[in-house]
């Protein structure tokens, strides 16, 4: 993918733009090339671009003034949390201000009686759980970057994690927001109570990938940490049996805290790396975690074990200690770095499919692997159908990155073809932007872009992300009416 050529009329005004930002945030403007370099990409590091300038505001008022100034001066903005997006959500633009929220790093209020916490958006996901750990609480969504990713970024991307089948994505754990609109207005939505009145603005803002506004405060719900958690490790000689076992667990009425699958290449890469005791000859591995009171976990573990046997598991182990449970997970959690050990580079894809189509999708993915001449390893949030194929390639070999991208696009097309979606948790960003028409028709996309126009009519926020073509808002707003004749000549009336 090519990044756009920066608009020279903006670049020539750089000095005055920097000056304007310095007046608003005197100690928070980064304009020197060496210092800006850390901002030249996000987690999708194949795409690199120096920002026009970086501004790090400290207060909501500063954010509002930055947005107002950019609106007045016709300058675009790329919002950025911790910069861990895997889809290029905060990839800089050469003619846009990167607005980093890292200085909003304070926990403002912990309210255990109402089971919620109010924090600034730059607080990391894991820091929220740490702050309430001693009281037996935690914040449920756990993206694998949780030690680094910020809660504001989690809201922007509607981040998930391995436990979201049972505990939901960010959207389902969010109670309130403060946000600055492109008009410079500050709005508050929700709070420590549930359900906002009127339209569900918080619902559409969550996962909007920095296109609608800048989040300046977040209230999340806290959950009581489960008393116990245990995991079952199951190996299968055939991925189809593993798929059938997943369906059987759900059909038996069990919603595990986590239900993960790895295919043969992923098992072997992970085992070589962390020695978790995975069955290296297996075609598929399942990790099923149950949590809750010990008596409940014991009951459900017994049922899962019996379903594993009935579906032909050739390896079956259940954790008896916390160390063992963590060891079962160690391989899965290290799957990405493990892929990094067996290949110089990899692309991590993120589609969701209806689970029943899994065997077919894995088989066709092997076909695509041969066609593109690149290896693929699969890790899979099996409980909710979220696939993470890791495409292995070497960027130093001419053409391999492009082949890997083409392979990835084919996988996502396959996901949509079988009734799934382009992205389960990583977001569209730049990475999947041009595939949006594979999943959505023209009117579907136009309706989404009309929402963008209601928030940001000049397309100042994160332009070029998520939607493949920009339409002028006036054009999108036209009311197209054809005909005008009465439908149903024999209209039933009552």
């Amino acid at each position: 993918m090519q990044l756009p050529v920066p608009d020279p009329t903006i670049v020539t005004r750089r000095r005055e733009i920097v000056q304007t930002l310095r007046e608003i945030v005197p100690d928070g403007v980064i304009a020197e090339e060496a210092a800006m370099r850390v901002y030249d990409s996000d987690g999708l590091s194949a795409l690199r671009q120096m920002p026009l300038v970086v501004v790090l505001p400290r207060t909501t008022d500063q954010v509002a003034r930055v947005l107002s100034a950019c609106r007045r001066d016709g300058v675009n903005i790329v919002p950025r949390g911790a910069g861990t997006s895997l889809s290029g959500g905060s990839t800089p633009l050469g003619d846009a201000v990167t607005l980093g929220m890292s200085r909003f790093n304070r926990i403002l209020d912990i309210d255990l009686d109402n089971r919620c916490a109010t924090v600034q958006p730059g607080v990391t996901n894991l820091a929220i759980s740490w702050a309430v750990e001693a009281d037996g609480f935690y914040y449920a969504p756990d993206p694998s970057s949780q030690i680094a990713c910020s809660i504001g970024g989690n809201v922007a991307e509607n981040a998930g994690g391995v436990h979201c089948l049972k505990y939901g994505l960010t959207a389902n754990n969010l109670l309130g927001l403060e946000m600055v609109l492109m008009t410079g207005e500050v709005i508050r939505l929700g709070g420590r109570h549930l359900d906002q009145p009127g339209y569900d603005l918080m619902g559409v803002i969550t996962g909007s990938e920095g296109l609608l506004g800048i989040i300046t405060e977040v209230t999340v719900r806290l959950l009581r940490r489960p008393e116990t958690a245990r995991a079952v490790l199951m190996g299968f000689d055939d991925a189809r049996q593993a798929g059938a076992c997943v369906a059987a667990i759900i059909a038996a009425g069990i919603i595990p805290a986590g239900l993960e699958m790895m295919d043969g290449p992923a098992i072997r890469a992970a085992e070589d790396f962390v020695h978790a005791g995975y069955p290296v000859t297996a075609d598929a591995l399942l990790i099923c975690e149950l949590d809750g009171p010990a008596v409940e976990v014991d009951t459900l573990i017994a049922r899962v074990e019996s379903l594993a046997r009935a579906n032909g598991a050739t390896t079956l182990r259940t954790s008896t200690t916390e160390d063992e449970r963590l060891l079962f997970w160690a391989g899965r959690k290290a799957a990405f770095p493990a892929a990094g050990r067996i290949s110089p580079d990899y692309l991590c894809m993120d589609g969701t499919i209806p689970r029943r189509r899994l065997p077919e999708v894995l088989e066709r993915m092997q076909g695509l692997s041969r066609q593109h001449g690149l290896r693929v390893a699969n890790v899979f949030h099996a409980g909710d159908g979220n696939l993470h194929p890791l495409i292995l390639f070497d960027a130093n070999r001419p053409g391999e990155l492009e082949r890997a991208e083409a392979f990835g696009a084919d996988i996502l097309r396959l996901c949509v073809e079988v009734g799934g979606v382009l992205t389960g948790e990583h977001g569209v960003g730049l990475e999947k932007r041009d595939l949006m028409p594979v999943m959505f028709g023209p009117e579907d996309i136009r309706q989404q872009q009309r929402i963008k126009c209601a928030f940001d009519p000049d397309h100042r926020l994160n332009p070029g992300k998520v939607y493949p073509t920009l339409h002028r808002c006036a054009e999108l707003g036209k009311l197209h009416v054809s005909g005008g004749h009465l439908p149903f000549p024999d209209l039933p009336r009552f």
Partner: protein
Amino acid sequence: MDWLTPTDETAAAEAIRWAAARREPLEIRGQGTKAAVGTPVKAAFGLSLTGLRGITAYDPAELVLTAAAGTPVAEIRTALSDAGQHLPFEPCDLSGLLGSEGEGTLGGLVSAGLSGARRPFAGACRDHVLGVRGIGGSGLPFRAGGQVVKNVTGFDLSKLLCGAWGTLAVLTEISLKVLPAPEAQATLILDGLEEERALSLLRQALRSPADVSGAVHLSGGDTALRLEGPPESVRWRTQGLRDLLGLPCRTLDTDASRDWWDRWQRLEPLQADPDRHIWKLSLVPTQAAAVARLLRQADPALRAAFDWGGGLLWLATSPGLDGAHLRQAIPPGSGHATLIRAPAAVRAAGGVFPPDSPAVTALCRRLKDSFDPAGLFNPGRMA
């Protein structure tokens, strides 16, 4: 009123294009069971979605059910129950309060965004709407979201349409996340607790590891805590919760427990006096008792029922207690109140839905314009 009654999405879109060409406002309806909620709509024509009916896809192992918007909720409940599954958000049934027949349609349920007792623990209606098909004010069908349980592709329009009372777009098809119904349940009932004390106990239970899935206090009546799950787990947690509360209480086993929560789901404790106004208040749980106490000074006959451990307060008020006065009892930023039942003349005067800041109100108007630029759908209903 003249009703347009399409039987598929194409005909519904054609009906909307006809209305758009004439700038003819439409009242959008399923079975009309919740038509008495909101500011009364002034429209000469109605668009009924009851002709779009039927479950189009349901594979229990996928945890997804897709149905046409006009499908009766009862039909969906039956299909789920046959597969041992349920609607996790436990939508409350307003028909008893509103004097309507049946629970209405899926489209109506989602448009009203109804959730029930399990909402704080399992999520709201909007958390379970995975995707929709709908038609905007220009008569063009669109889809949003997907039919899988995990999806972040594009803006989540489904959530915007949930709870929009048919003012943004006409829903034609909805995909819901569904879950296995718990095998067993039990409810602890404590009698005759004073309000403040009862709410404090509910919060204590919610902070405990008991994994409560229902926490209700009916003023002057039952205080109820529900536990759900495998039978072994329910038994264990019930004992733990009894020990924690340390008060005499009755335990309802699975069947009796289901009956209790079914009655609550129909809001039976609020149905006694049909002349009272019914209000629904979403509150910071620790402030709920104070809000009720304050309002009782103005309306001593007030009947109160707390759900969500205090996060939801249902009130049956004397017609003399006006909405502005009621809303003043809620500390700023601590919640909001919606009028669920009142005579049409009262609702026509406005104030059914809570007011919001000028910036949010203006943003909502722009969002309305983005879906329905000519203002055809349910004009004024959320005013």
